[in-house]
């Protein structure tokens, strides 16, 4: 082969060990986990830890169990909790990070010191953050005692121990809700495609949206995943964990935004001012649009941290508080305490798919961008 020069061979030899290791320990194990998730390993306690367990192929049974099984309400609540947690965690980090960055961008006194202070929480591990915040949010101390400083009654809000939930919906309606949301998104895409004169694209999107709406109107209401209604919502006990997570990671988004703000050339701002833009207009029309790519990368990184989160919840609320539980915690308990290895592997696979939803579009777009440059 022409391309196989000595230089290339050398590069290949250097890369080979890590390629093999990644192949075995990442992709091999992913494959093994997916395989185990489609078996019944551990469903029978007598076989779970036997020397040579009998493992049968059961296809998608474990997944069916997780989404519709009577006993797996905890897992479904965790999925809902993860969505809410991710939403508030990302919004909190982006909002606080941007706010801090804007303040620091105005060159206040001792800027370097402030930067260090705000970035410092990121150097702690989630276990440490969790322990500190558990102390602060415990029922009989910490922030609940703050009102007494002003002579008021101590607050009684259960930061981590509340059992209330808001925005509840029936799990049986999930297919309906999903179809409606996706349908609306498709309709918007179709509208935008038509208005920018992309006929075929618009037609396809409109047809898909119409199909989904028809399904949601006629079939959706009759779909029953569970025998009885099962309500899931946003558990208020998660608020404490969101606060701790935002505290930990908002310094990181601040650093990203600060770098972005410093990267915007002064000429652009001056040009905007010359054109008569007010300070608000300058931020809204010039600076924020330029920060959009930074928001996107921050969302990707925060999003996958949030989906995988385990240690913070374990340290703050313990493994057995189902009101604050997340799928990663459930995976650990199912596999290593209940010895249901197949079910645990199924939860792990679902987590992997969720993270892939966030990461893959980002990776593919950045690859495309790199190829474009090259």
């Amino acid at each position: 082969m022409k391309g196989l020069t000595k230089d290339r061979l050398w590069a290949l030899a250097v890369l080979l060990p890590s390629l093999i290791l990644v192949g075995v320990f990442v992709y091999g194990f992913i494959g093994r986990t997916v395989y185990v998730s489609m078996t019944d390993w551990g469903n029978d306690p007598a076989q779970a830890l036997a020397t040579n367990p009998i493992i049968r192929w059961t296809g998608l049974d474990n997944y069916r169990e997780l989404f519709t099984g009577f006993l797996q309400g905890r897992f479904r609540q965790e999925l809902v909790s993860t969505v809410f947690f991710t939403l508030f965690f990302i919004l909190g980090c982006l909002g606080l990070g941007l706010g801090l960055a804007l303040v620091l961008d105005r060159n206040p006194k001792g800027e370097g010191l402030w930067r260090t202070i705000f970035l410092f929480p990121m150097s702690l591990s989630f276990i440490v953050t969790g322990t500190i915040w558990r102390w602060m949010l415990q029922p009989q101390g910490g922030v609940n005692q703050v009102p007494t400083l002003f002579g008021a009654q101590p607050s009684t809000f259960g930061w981590l121990s509340s059992t209330d939930a808001i925005w509840k919906f029936d799990w049986n309606k999930l297919p309906l809700i999903t179809a409606a949301v996706v349908g609306v998104v498709l309709a918007v895409i179709a509208f935008r495609a038509f208005s920018s004169a992309q006929r075929t694209r618009g037609l396809v999107a409109a047809a898909c949206a119409a199909l989904l709406f028809i399904w949601a109107l006629f079939v959706g209401p009759n779909v029953k995943m569970l025998a009885a209604p099962e309500l899931h919502g946003f558990n208020l006990a998660l608020i404490g964990i969101v606060i701790a997570a935002v505290w930990q990671m908002s310094g990181y988004t601040m650093a990203l935004y600060l770098a972005g703000l410093r990267g915007i050339p002064e000429e652009l701002r001056e040009a905007a001012r010359v054109d008569g833009a007010t300070e608000w207009q300058m931020y809204g029309r010039v600076i924020f649009p330029l920060l959009a790519p930074i928001s996107l990368s921050a969302m990707i990184i925060l999003g996958h941290i949030s989906l995988k989160i385990f240690d913070l919840v374990y340290a703050m609320a313990g493994p057995d508080n189902t009101f604050t539980s997340v799928p990663a915690l459930n995976m650990y308990l199912t596999s290593f305490r209940q010895n249901q290895f197949a079910l645990g592997a199924a939860i792990g696979t679902i987590l992997l798919i969720l993270v892939a939803f966030v990461i893959v579009p980002y990776l593919s777009s950045s690859f495309r961008a790199e190829e474009g440059h090259a």
């Binding site: 006993l71 259960g158 121990s161 313990g318 209940q338």
Partner: protein, 406 residues
């Protein structure tokens, strides 16, 4: 030739070694050390390797143990809660040795209560040697406070609910204090034993009674009412923090195991009967709900003979009376020397000899880990929804899955 030489070398070196695996560290360390010292007095040539993995109730140790067992290097003898926690995990997987012959040769069939022997037995084998006994059906209170409120410790759960209303009327927001999830499971089992009786409780775990039985559903409803008497910030409290609310008089009652006696006397410096009081949990007088730490012998243990000697020391009268006064528990044997124990332990030991003995679910005696761990979610859902039928149906499905009653 070489193989033979290797075999003799390894057996010669093995003759002097024993590895014991437990989660006794910190406060419980000295009690274990005393046992090891006793073992060394009897078998001076043996080197004891104390492989302790710290962590409450063995959460970390159990994970390490699983790795070692699956990796084919089991410790010579390891700690587990007596009963189904060991049987449902390791015995069903055929990884433990039957200790029936040891019980026979040591004459332990008479030394231990028959109820205990049946708890550590299954499928015709006896699987572990209980070292100590804790009682879990104890209700703790603050005698001075009860007097001030003008109430007495209730005898049944119905009476408890009346007392609860009286106390609420006197401005006690939470007459009962509970803590994190496992303490709620602990309370649940006390309501069950108190409502179904000792025999009814045993039928539940032998599969004779289903969880969906009307009596069990009714007991679930009672548990819901009892939880209405409890504090709302439960999941944020450890059992020690819950006990503190008895001491400071925020709450009137706490249902907890007898390790609370150690906490009250040692940490809080309170005198038994004046600083803190106790009685059996409502409806359970005459019943002793027990949990025990025990040691078993895994198949393929490297130093089997030494491990058997270790088990003999654990089960002996001298061994149990060395260990338990230091650990704050009582001996599983019926013939222990009560002069070595404290006030609370003496009262528990007296009950141990005459009461009906049943096992605890929350502490691994009657249910395997797979049940107890998943049952936590059932309790949480029930406390939020108060749907007794649903919780009972879920518990029955869990029991079927965990192989209870098979």
């Amino acid at each position: 030739m070489l193989a033979l030489a290797l075999a003799t070398v390894s057996s010669a070196s093995a003759a002097g070694k024993l590895e014991i695996f437990s989660w006794w560290s910190g406060d419980e360390g000295p009690a274990l050390d005393a046992l090891v010292k006793l073992y060394k007095q009897k078998y001076p040539s043996v080197t004891v390797d104390n492989a302790t993995v710290s962590g409450g109730a063995g959460t970390n140790a159990k994970a390490v143990l699983k790795t070692r067992m699956l990796g084919g290097t089991p410790p010579d003898s390891f700690q587990a809660h007596a009963g189904q926690e060991l049987i449902g995990t390791w015995v069903v997987a055929n990884r433990m040795e039957d200790l029936s012959s040891l019980f026979k040769s040591e004459g332990w069939a008479k030394a231990f209560p028959a109820d205990v022997i049946s708890l550590v037995s299954s499928k015709g084998g006896i699987w572990s040697v209980p070292v100590n006994v804790h009682r879990s059906n104890v209700m703790w209170y603050n005698p001075a406070k009860l007097k001030a409120w003008g109430v007495t410790a209730p005898k049944t759960w119905t009476e408890f609910l009346t007392t609860c209303n009286t106390l609420k009327a006197k401005g006690v927001a939470a007459p009962l204090v509970v803590g994190e999830n496992w303490t709620q499971q602990h309370l649940w089992e006390n309501v069950m034993v108190g409502s179904l009786g000792a025999a009814g409780w045993q039928n539940l775990w032998s599969g004779k009674t289903k969880f969906t039985d009307p009596k069990v559903v009714a007991a679930f409803t009672t548990f819901g009412k009892v939880m209405d008497c409890a504090n709302k910030d439960a999941s944020g409290l450890s059992w020690q923090q819950a006990s503190d609310r008895i001491v400071d008089g925020t709450s009137a009652f706490n249902i907890m195991g007898d390790w609370a006696a150690g906490y009250f006397t040692t940490t809080k410096k309170l005198a038994p009967n004046t600083g803190f009081g106790w009685t059996t949990a409502p409806g359970t007088s005459g019943t002793f709900v027990m949990l025990a730490d025990a040691f078993g012998l895994p198949k393929g243990a490297k130093d089997r003979a030494e491990a058997l000697n270790w088990l003999k020391v654990l089960g002996s009268k001298q061994g149990q009376d060395t260990f338990n006064p230091l650990k704050g528990s009582i001996a599983a044997r019926l013939d222990s020397d009560l002069s070595k124990y404290n006030t609370y332990s003496k009262s528990a030991a007296a009950d141990w000899k005459k009461n009906k003995i049943v096992g605890s679910m929350a502490h691994g005696a009657v249910a395997p880990e797979s049940f107890t761990s998943a049952f936590g979610a059932v309790i949480d859902q029930f406390v939020a929804s108060k749907n007794a039928q649903g919780a009972a149906a879920a518990a029955q499905q869990l029991a079927d899955k965990a192989g209870i009653g098979k």
